[in-house]
Amino acid sequence: MNGGLTKEPAPSASAWWRGGSPGLRLARHSLGLLALAILLVPFADLAIHTRDPWGELARMASGMAWPAWGALESPFAALGLTVAVALWGTLAGVVLGFPLALLFARSRLVRAGCAFVRAIHELFWALLFLQVFGLSALTALAALAIPYAGIFAKVYAEILEQTPSAPRDALPSGSGRLARFVYAELPLAWSQLAAYTRYRFECGLRASVLLGFVGLPTLGFHLETAFREGRYPEAGALLWLFYLLIASLPWWGHKRLIPLLLVGGAWLLGPWPRVDGALLWRFVSEDIWPAALLTGDWAGLLEWLARIPELGPAIGNTLLLGLLGTVGALAVALVLWPLASRHFGNRASRLAGHGVLIFLRSTPELMLAFIFLLLLGPSLLPAWLALALHNGALIAFLVARHADAITPGMPGLPASSRLAYELLPRVYPGLLALLYYRAEVILRETAILGMLGVATLGFYIEEGFDYLMFDVAFFLLLITAVLNIAVDALSRRLRPREAPLDDPCIR
């Protein structure tokens, strides 16, 4: 063969698609995901069950536009409790998680335990603790502290592992383990540990609001009540209060104010339950396990398993909604990120784009889903919309930030070519990597959306707790956790390797 500049025939379309470049691989990958979602859409219940969704939406919008500030009863107590729970819950998570982080690399048991507690959503933990500690501060704190301990253990361990080893190696031999840690490891990791803890506190703040949905008197409780009872102006005021709380975080959450907030928050926490050891032990050792299992009656266990209502469809719906939510988030992210990027549009369009993204990503999925549910009725549709919009906006925000750091090599291209040739090829691997990080979060949220009436696992878990069938509820919780761990492992395998994401604060 004499290569060189001789005529090479243009590749046929099919040959082109079989090419091995990373871009084509990612494109095939994404289209595969999309095809799977389209194939499975007919199995999802996407019906609209309400009669007048547009009218309802108009009433909500007018509530948002003219909030009834005067109608709020003790909003500051709810706000204070929300912050106090988030702060103390996060702190307890740090206290529990930090020692685990030091054992994380060495102990398989610790890794498995952390993966398990992480895989169960804060609200499910709250439902579980509600049974033993009632509507109390202890339930709220444990619901945050336990999953966060697992998350902190993992992320802290990753951060500490990435600290450079040169200072450690330079120490004279015989330096004690603890001295080595505080002199040559902790200072190197400190700023990252602090940044992640701060990020987790923000997540805790949103979770603390959501704890209201299971009855704890945080901001979410008042929000849910107002929405359910159709008092939209009041709900609007509460929603604005929530956004103000999140937006003003840099001021009131300054690190010098944290000790003050902690002390002040301690006064607001309550009520404290009377912990009955015997009752607690009975719950842990008997109530949450099927009776047949405890007596070793295997035939009875099978019968018990067969009597669990709708197990197959619930798992199917959860996975289906997770997939649809992920693909939806991909589509939303692709559409939204150019709106907030400096490469497109004008000042006004960018401002509007930023506004939409901030609104969508700071509203928790559960709250979005709840609002859509009131509009559309209990099918998978409101949940799908909420998952796609929230996660899509979150990814779009990060992608826009990434794109803004890029200087196009060919200035003066029209917008469409700039998107297709300059920017998208560069940001897409990162976008997909983010999507796969979010896939696990989306599945965890999917389960929790069941609590609103969507027929995923969460629906049956809450039903189990409501009817005091603790064994069924706990079994379904375990299934949720296993599904989550499996999806996490799968998305880790599928994640594009071209774009490693080092910053744990974006997961």
Partner: protein, 254 residues
């Protein structure tokens, strides 16, 4: 010969040195005696760091160690970085308390050292805010603070000017009976040391008294340096140079 009367510190007899299964210095034969002042020369990747690492391992507690790229903690103050040279000599509790409030004795000792090294007034400054030359001197201060008889330095004067390099080397000589220092400055090796070890492609090609060598002979160690004076690819070398808080990269080809 006078070398035979001095105490032998370490000897390699045709030994393979390297990292795990990867041999960097095959069949190495050399000896280090008390009182030797050795300049270790060779291109990047010739095996200097491997040899120094092995010397450190064998000589253990007698060694004051000054690693390549300093290995400092940028977030901690100069004082704490220097103090780290003597971490094993204090109790864990004292070490922890020292982070909250410097111990009085060590503070005085470190202050004296910093004065000698031109770091006076910088003791409370985080190392990350210092210039390259200042960091270099902090790394040397940490090694001096260990107060050991033997100094092993991996390019300890790479980022200071020639005058300062001389001053620092004199300071190192004054406080240690024996030293092995990896260098790139060939002139310094001839004028300031009494022995030269030259590594090329993992072999010890020079092991001789400094006053018996010429610059031309040392040039043989740097095959790439024929045309330009120093690194042939300054851009690539600068890009490959890790920052103070980056991992030390693995050595080049064996």
């Amino acid at each position: 010969m006078e070398g035979e009367q001095r105490r032998l510190l370490v000897r390699f007899d045709d030994e393979d040195l390297g990292h795990g299964a990867q041999v960097v210095l095959p069949r190495l034969a050399l000896a280090l005696h008390e009182g030797d002042r050795v300049a270790l020369l060779g291109q990047s990747g010739a095996g200097k760091s491997t040899l120094l690492g092995e010397l450190r391992r064998r000589l253990g507690g007698q060694v004051a160690w000054c690693p390549q790229h300093h290995g400092l903690v940028p977030q901690l103050a100069v004082y704490h970085n220097v103090f780290m040279g003597r971490l094993p000599e204090h109790s864990t509790l004292a070490n922890l308390w020292n982070l909250v409030r410097p111990l009085r004795g060590p503070w005085r000792e470190v202050a004296a050292l910093c004065d000698a090294l031109g770091l006076a007034g910088l003791m409370r400054r985080p190392v990350g805010e210092l210039s390259g030359g200042q960091r270099q001197r902090v790394a040397i201060a940490r090694a001096l603070y260990q107060a050991r008889p033997l100094f092993l330095g991996d390019e300890p004067v790479a980022s200071v000017d020639p005058h300062q390099a001389l001053r620092l080397l004199s300071l190192i000589d004054a406080r240690h009976t024996t030293s092995v220092v990896a260098l790139h400055q060939r002139e310094l090796a001839l004028t300031h040391f009494d022995r030269v070890w030259g590594l090329r492609d993992g072999r010890l090609v020079i092991d001789a008294r400094a006053n018996s060598l010429t610059l031309a002979e040392l040039d043989e160690l740097y095959p790439d340096a024929k045309a330009p004076e120093h690194d042939p690819l300054p851009d690539a070398a600068a890009a490959a140079m890790p920052s103070v808080d980056a991992l030390p990269c693995a050595r080049g080809k064996p």
